[in-house]
Structures are given as C-alpha cells and as structure tokens.
Amino acid sequence: MMSPKISETALQRRSDALNALVDSIPYIQYLGVRFNPQNDRLTAFLPFNKKLIGNPIKPALHGGVTVAFLEVTAMITLNWFYLNDETAYENLDFKKIRAGWFLKLPKTIDFSVDYLRAGLPEDAYARAHIIRSGRRYASVHVEGWQNSKEKLFAYATGHFVLPQRPLE
C-alpha cells in the first residue's frame, strides 16, 4: 500500500513502470485496456470497440472479452502492487524496460467468472482486490462494471503463481 507521504518523483516512477509494463504486452494493446492509478487503487478501463462485440444482434460485449478484461486487470494489479514496493525500485532500470526487457508476470492457475448481465456495447471498468498474496500464490477478486459501479456486469475470482523475481 502507498503511504500518504509518497513524493511526486516516486509517484512518477510508479506511473512510468506501470506504463512500461502495460505497453510491453501485445494482448493488452489489442484489447485497448488502460490503467488508471489513484492512491492505492488501480482502475482498468476498456474503451468500447466494435471488434469486442460477441452478439451482433443485441449487440453485446463478447463473453470472452469480459473474462479476458477481468483476468488482465487481476494480473496487472498484482504486478502494480509489487512495483509499489519501494525496495523493488533499487534494481529497476527504466532504460532496460524501454529497450524491450520485461517484468515477469504472474501465471494464472485458474480463473472463474460469473456473468451477471449482458455486457453493453459501451466502455467498461474493472478493479481487482488482492484477497491474499503470499510468497508463491495469490488469490484475487475482480469486479467489472459499465455505466454504474453499483451494477456489476461480471465478477471473477482467480488464483495465480507469483513470479519469484519479477525484476530480474
């Protein structure tokens, strides 16, 4: 968790690290997912695009897009919390990241999604809550919504194997 005393420089470095991470993953670029850090929370944003439609008659978001969006949100949130750990910055070289060197990502063990209502052909948001993150494994709960945060369109629970040394 971030403390309230974080310097502007540290915040900027965190933001740069997050952007470098997200930019390095082609599938996140393909879906068009962006991440917005606010204090100790990370909100994922999926701008609507016609290629994300699963039911052309309704029309509705593809169920596969929903599960992918929630899963990507869980993975990036896990790495974001890791990056927020000050000690992690001692070895972090942004020139290396920009030169195509990558952070190691958590590996999904399983992912279970509940579809509560049809995804509308509109922008979507998601936020992941890390229920438990140990040395090797993490349990994460993710919620997705569209026009109203009170009306979730899907939520998911996933389990991940954490990278042992993400920055090496």
């Binding site: 082609p26 599938y27 699963g54 593809h62 169920g63 596969g64 999604v113 579809y115």
Partner: protein, 140 residues
C-alpha cells in the same frame, strides 16, 4: 461439407470478436463444438516467451462452449454464459494453433452444463480445461 455446418460457420463469422481472433468452426452439432484459433502475435500475453495470453484462450473457450449449447437439440434459441471456470495447465506453445472442443454434457429446461478442453499440437497435454453453466431457451 453439409449445409448445417456451413450455416454454423457463417454464424461464427458473424461474431465480430470471434472473427477478429481468426476463429474457425470445425464442428457444431448435437451439443458438441470444435473451434480453432490460429497463433497471432497480437494476442501475446508474455512478451518474453511469445506465449498467447490466457485471456485470448478464455475467449476461444467461451465461444466454443456457447456454440456447443446453441447446437443442442433441446435449446431452441441463443445462449449466454452464467459462469465459466478455466484451469490453465500449461502455456500454449508459441506458433501453434489452439483447438477447443466443448461438450454440453447435461441440459435442463433452463441450464446447460458444459465442459471444454483446449489443446495445441500436443493433444495429450491440454493447455486448459473449463467447466461452465449456460442459459437455455426452451418452449416450456
């Protein structure tokens, strides 16, 4: 190729996201469906290894399960996913097409229960398996 399968293929082609991922339907009849998705660098989830994102595999599995339910003779209309659980056994080998087979193994008037397996060129070691519940449209 029979006419029914050709109609089903056209249906999959009409789904913008499935089309965008290059999915091709090989079989869809009596509660069973097989769909393939070719390797695509845009779908890479781990840039270090070139492995396809679990999210893209999930999209393929969800589509295939839905197709299986739609093809079941007791389902008279479309379907929607109620829940889906995916287990990822291993990374899909970069460069290889992923093939998913889904079976609707039980159906009631309101719910279809589906299992699916995703494989690459090594069919004895599945990439992922899934179980899900889907909505059913029946006359009753």
């Amino acid at each position: 190729m029979n006419n029914k399968l050709e109609m089903a293929r056209q249906f999959i082609k009409s789904i913008p996201h499935s089309q965008d991922l290059g999915m091709d339907l090989l079989k869809m009849a009596d509660g069973m469906a097989i769909i393939t998705m070719p390797y695509n660098i845009n779908l890479i989830g781990d840039p270090e290894t070139g492995v396809i994102s679990g999210g893209a595999v999930s999209a393929l599995i969800d589509t295939c399960c839905g197709a299986a339910v739609m093809s079941h003779p007791l389902n008279l209309g479309g379907t929607a996913t109620i829940d889906l659980r995916i287990d990822y056994m291993r990374p899909a080998t970069p460069g290889q097409t992923i093939k998913t087979e889904a079976n609707c193994y039980h159906i009631t008037r309101s719910v279809a229960f589906v299992r699916a397996t995703a494989i690459d060129d090594d069919p004895d070691n599945p990439v992922a398996t899934a179980t899900g519940a889907f909505t059913v449209e029946s006359s009753g």
